[in-house]
Amino acid sequence: MELPAEIPSALYLALAIPLVYVLFFALQSFFGNKFRDKGDSLALLVSGGNFALGLTVFTKVWGTHSGPYNLGEWFSAGPFSISFTVHLDNVSALMLLLVTGITFLVHLFSKEYMKHDPKRQRYWAFLSLFSFSMTGLVLAWNLLLIFAFWELVGFSSYLLIGFWHEGKVQGSASQKAFIVNRIGDVGFIAGMLILYVHYGDLDLSSLIGMSLFGETPPGFEPISPFWKILAGLGLTLGALSKSAQFPLQVWLPDAMAGPTPVSSLIHAATMVAAGVYLLISCVPLFHPVVLDTLAFTGALTALIAALSALTQNDIKGVLAYSTISQLGFMVMGVGVFASEFSLFHLATHAFFKCGLFLTAGAIIHALHEAQKKWRSQHGSKADFDVQDIRLMGGFRKLMPRTFVLYLIFAASLAGLPLFSGFLSKDGLLLGAAAWAKGEGGLAFLVPLMSVTAAVLTAVYISRHAILIFFGEYRLGKFKEGLGNFAGQIKEVNFWMLLPLAVLAVFALAPVWAIQNPIHATAESSWLLGGIPAIHLWPHETWMNLFPWVISLLSLAGIVLTWNRYRKRNIQLEASPSGFLKRLSYHHFYFDSIYQKLIVQPIFAVSAALNFFDKKIVDGAVNGIARVVLEKQGGIRSISGIASWVEKNIVDRTVNGVAGGVMGLARRSRKIQSGKLQSYLILTLFGLLLLLGYLFYFAS
């Protein structure tokens, strides 16, 4: 594949972005302790600067096409060669803008949120490491290079999830995230290997080119459908683990153990989007069977997660399941040939989900501050779970600005008209419907599950909103003596509200599709106009009604939820009653099932191997040692025999020889008497011998 030789200035700027992040990471890691508070401002400066770079790159690249660039060879082994190939087209420019922008906003938010944390130097360092990995992932265009950044992103996530729990191994959420991710990596690597064997290259440009035109490189066998499917499924498995889809979605709810800004950046907006991004980039490589798998998996995940979100009591828990569900929509979109809407939804979701998480963070922060004030005023600790929404209520009066911003994000998530989520979700659902109509058979299940999930989205986020913001503050009902606690809760300050406000702007529809805020098409939306789309389905009239029907159903859901929860007496039960509620609350018992079917057997095998190693292997080794070294009863050990032989036989022989030589030496020494005259006789004697030889034998 020929690559253009000259490199435009935009590419230098784009490459500078990850470079700056990684340099800051190194700086902060080594000198963070010396910076102290100045590190906060430095982090803001770095992320702000990179955002400016991202914006510049975006404006330069959007609308033009910058093909793949080969920056030079990374390594080669015989015929196998991997280059640093990067690409800078509309999609990567958009992703760069997204990542740098949201990183910057999260940095602003974290400055206030983490201000009491003594270890925040490492926090800035890890955040920077993550941003480096993510921007690198988005720029790379060689599967192995992408994989390297993929792993780095997962590693940064591990570090950040476990930020407050360093040292703990048991029940570690960060370990779970990393290990589940690893399983997906097996798929990724398998996919890469299959593709390499059949195409001889891992550059996405050549892979896509050859796949699209059905070409085979010279000297290779054409790829059979079986292997094409397997490679696609492999890459899919990787994406499923990174984007928390069925069956590897179990790590995301646990990842909420990390700081909330981390949840908003990584587990809502960017890292989990990496899987979707990979799928979108690799669509031309996928066999129809793989695409069908994506459609069903995405829709199924969306439904399962939405059902689970209905009964969660943790403020971040609802949002975590919501993220899984929304990602399911995106994955489904790739499978139904609506991948441009998947990307669109990735972008809109990044803003409103990040906004929702940061709102949750604002509430948590306000409650923490309130707890501190209560402690200093009353002397006793106000001990309760700040993340339990059953203990909240009435926050629209306590934190009005946060409330307004939250409403915008929630409306966008629910897909209400005039908000960004409506546009992108609408496109995805339409795509699913049209695809199912074209495919026939069981394909109808995909739009059915997706629409159900969409309606449920409105329901669970309404419940979330009502329990937190409406009604009266409920803490006093459940905890003795904390009736006046509400007085301590204050709205969060400017540094936290500013990022929220900026995000809220992008949760509104007109920002994305200025001409037609109701229905986004390539004409009405600047974003869709810039992304390549594969349209298989023709536009039919019923499609105009579709988004309205869904919105009506969502509104109905919201109204029903409102009726249900407004009047209700919230109970503080440990686990909900009723089979369906428990099924939802425990996330369909995925964790228990995996624990019983996978984790425990592995531990059992590990224990068995340990036993084998200790008793049998060690026993054998120790037994041999005993035979060799120790005296058994009256019988000598092997080393005993060896030492006996050494002492009595070898030593005697050696000493005997030595004695003989010494005796010989003693006798020979006598020639050297030191007497001059003896020496003279010997000389004369020798001379006579020589003369005799000369005269009698040599002549």
């Binding site: 020494r669 050297q672 008497s673 030191g674 007497k675 001059l676 005259q677 020496y679 003279l680 006789i681 004369l684």
Partner: protein
Amino acid sequence: MTVTELLLYGGALLFCLGLFLVVTRRNAVMALIGIELILNGANLNFVAFARQDPELHGQMAGLFIIVLAAAEVAVSLAIILNVYKRYNTVNLDVLDNLKE
């Protein structure tokens, strides 16, 4: 037996006698006397062959040897004197520092 042959036998005789003295005598000075005799024996050899030489090369060598012997005796006696000063004896059986 010609005169030359006689001289040669005489020289050999002197040589052997001198050798006997060097090897057998305990006193270093007696050994020195033996060395003198050896030298003189060799000298006789030169003289014997000079009889056939019109230019008398042997006689010249003989003169050289006499002078050499004299000088050599002077030096040797000096050495023995120093040895006596050091070890207080000139008994060759006792002077065995060369041993080992």
